[in-house]
Amino acid sequence: MSVSSDSVREIALLARLRVEDDELPALTGQFNAILDLFEQLQAAPTDGVEPMANPLDATQTLRKDEVTETNQREALQSVAPAVQDGLYLVPRVVE
């Protein structure tokens, strides 16, 4: 399986990454080399094999629905690029 430059551009859009036109051919080549590596997986018979999401096959632990964290908004927002009145600032999205 191989992908075209257009597909790579499309994937970049999904991943919210911008790819410059002059980088696209090299990136597409590397992308296809990695996909070639992936193709080796197809040789392994996996019918009926349960996918393994956690190496210890652990399931999600549950805790009581209690408030355990204090409000640290100021500390957490102190590292934000732009905040005002406790809100994160972004370019206008609604006119």
Binding site: L27, L41, T61, Q72, P81, V90, P91
Partner: protein, 489 residues
């Protein structure tokens, strides 16, 4: 080798502190002076916290004087720059986090603080822990102390180089596909990747969450045992943290090798392995046999599938984890965004390096509609088959041994043009992460004056037996005491 200036063990340092022969402030000043003198060439540190370290050292000396010292109180160490440190910049070697000062400590950071250890700084690494050479760092490559024209390995290359060069006696690392073991092997130190879930991941910047695990990097197995006792333990704030008690690793170091069954997988000695590395590993195995261990040839038939399985699973998880870097809540933000879309895409393009972007793209593709079954699900199925290979093997043996890497440290730039060639370097380490097993790399000899690492792989939560097997070997060999030429002068 064997010179008088060889860095001392953690136990010896603790004894010197307890007896008053030295102080934490003195040890910390020495560490800072060594960093000042030699790290310009090595680049093993991204951030050095002189003031914070000296304040912590002073507090440690007071604690020692008050008789409340633990085994690590007053000992200088370094954290990989992936562990959040409250008030101290944590970059993950990325432009994305170049100016990020975490508002909280990682659990690992907190545990070392409580133990009274002195943090001198944050070590260099591959950006977001993605790499096997430390060349993918926004802050420049780190160099191998044994030969500055070579890489220290990665991604925990700075921690390995700093310990090998004697800048600090111990450091932390993280291992998603070999990132503790491979640099430990390349730099001639001892590194342990614990069982998945043994060490809390809270505050450890996420790369691939089902594979990431923090662990100790130091000169000897005994040092690693001391460090792991501090690092390991259940953390209710990490939902994948193992809720089981921590063994007393130091007390267990005396376990004899007599009767220990060591599996030697055929697949770890095949094509691609440097003959001279193989000779070193075979000699180490013969040494184990001579001391009472029983070597058992066995097969891990799906070993080669670990590479494609890992390079699907890890980027897929990375693409999800790294979606949090949006230029809004923290991290790099581009100048003058035209709109929200531009803010997201340009901040991420500017903030992430080439390899990180590649893995995000590949991971996004593997998770996208229409390809999920062919790639991600398939890789997770193969992952189970790889884990089953180990389970079968552990029916016959107590531990598995082989090389950590196919060759010794390679030259800077030797593999940067071809990402997939770099991926093949990880053949012996990846499957351990896929199966969630604990594994160590210990120094076992040299090829062309460069260190070779022996890998020991254990069963889930069997860190104690691994550490003991490594310690027994280090009782009658001195490979782990060898220091690079510059440290000897």
């Amino acid at each position: 080798m064997g010179n008088n200036d060889a860095p001392r063990s953690l136990r010896a340092l603790a004894a010197a502190l307890a007896s008053g022969e030295t102080t934490s402030v003195a040890l910390t000043q020495e560490a800072l002076a060594r960093i000042e003198a030699t790290d310009g060439a090595l680049n093993s540190f991204i951030t050095v916290d002189r003031d914070g370290a000296l304040a912590a050292a002073k507090a440690a000396d007071e604690r020692i004087a008050a008789g409340n010292a633990g085994p690590l109180t007053g000992i200088p160490l370094a954290h990989k720059d992936i562990f959040c440190t409250e008030g101290l910049r944590t970059t993950c070697a990325s432009r994305m986090l170049e100016n990020f000062t975490p508002p909280y400590d990682a659990t690992v950071t907190q545990r070392f603080k409580s133990a009274g250890a002195v943090l001198v700084g944050k070590t260099n690494m591959d950006e977001f822990a993605m790499g096997s050479s430390n060349e993918n760092s926004y802050f420049g490559p780190c160099r191998n102390p044994w030969d500055h024209s070579r890489v220290p390995g990665g991604s925990s290359g700075g921690s390995a180089a700093a310990v090998a060069a004697g800048l600090v006696p111990a450091a932390t690392g993280t291992d998603t596909g070999g990132s503790i073991r491979q640099p430990a092997a390349f730099c001639g130190i001892t590194g342990l990747k614990p069982t998945y879930g043994r060490v809390s991941r809270l505050g450890m910047v996420a790369y691939a969450s089902s594979l990431d695990q923090g662990g100790p990097m130091a000169r000897s197995a005994e040092d690693c045992a001391l460090l792991l006792e501090v690092m390991a333990g259940h953390d209710p704030r990490d939902s994948t943290s193992a809720n089981r008690s921590v063994d007393n690793y130091v007390d267990g170091l005396d376990q004899s090798l007599e009767g220990l069954r060591i599996g030697v997988p055929t697949e770890y000695f095949g094509e691609g392995l440097d003959d001279r590395v193989e000779a070193v590993i075979r000699a180490a195995l013969a040494d184990y046999e001579q001391r009472g261990a029983k070597l058992v040839e066995l097969s891990l038939p799906r070993t080669s599938l670990a590479i494609p399985a890992y390079y699907v699973v890890a980027p897929a998880e990375a693409s999800t984890n790294l979606s949090r870097y949006d230029g809004v809540r923290y991290g790099h933000r581009c100048e003058n965004p035209a709109d929200l879309e531009d803010l997201y895409t340009r901040s991420r393009e500017e903030g992430f390096g080439a390899e990180v972007q590649r893995r995000i793209l590949v991971g996004t593709y593997a998770l996208s509609s229409g390809y999920y079954d062919a790639y991600y699900k398939k890789a997770q199925q193969v992952r189970r088959l790889i884990a089953e290979d180990f389970r079968t093997a552990f029916g016959e043996v107590d531990m598995i041994a082989g090389p950590t890497t196919p060759g010794v440290a390679f030259g800077l730039g030797a593999k940067t043009d071809d990402p997939t060639a770099m991926y093949l370097e990880d053949i012996y380490t990846l499957s351990v992460n896929l199966a969630g097993l604990p594994a160590m790399s210990i120094p076992a000899g040299f090829v062309d004056d460069l260190p070779v690492g022996l890998q020991l792989i254990g069963q889930h939560f069997d860190e104690g037996r691994l550490l003991a097997a490594a310690h027994q070997y280090q009782q009658h060999t001195d490979w782990h005491l060898a220091t690079p030429p510059e440290v000897q002068s």
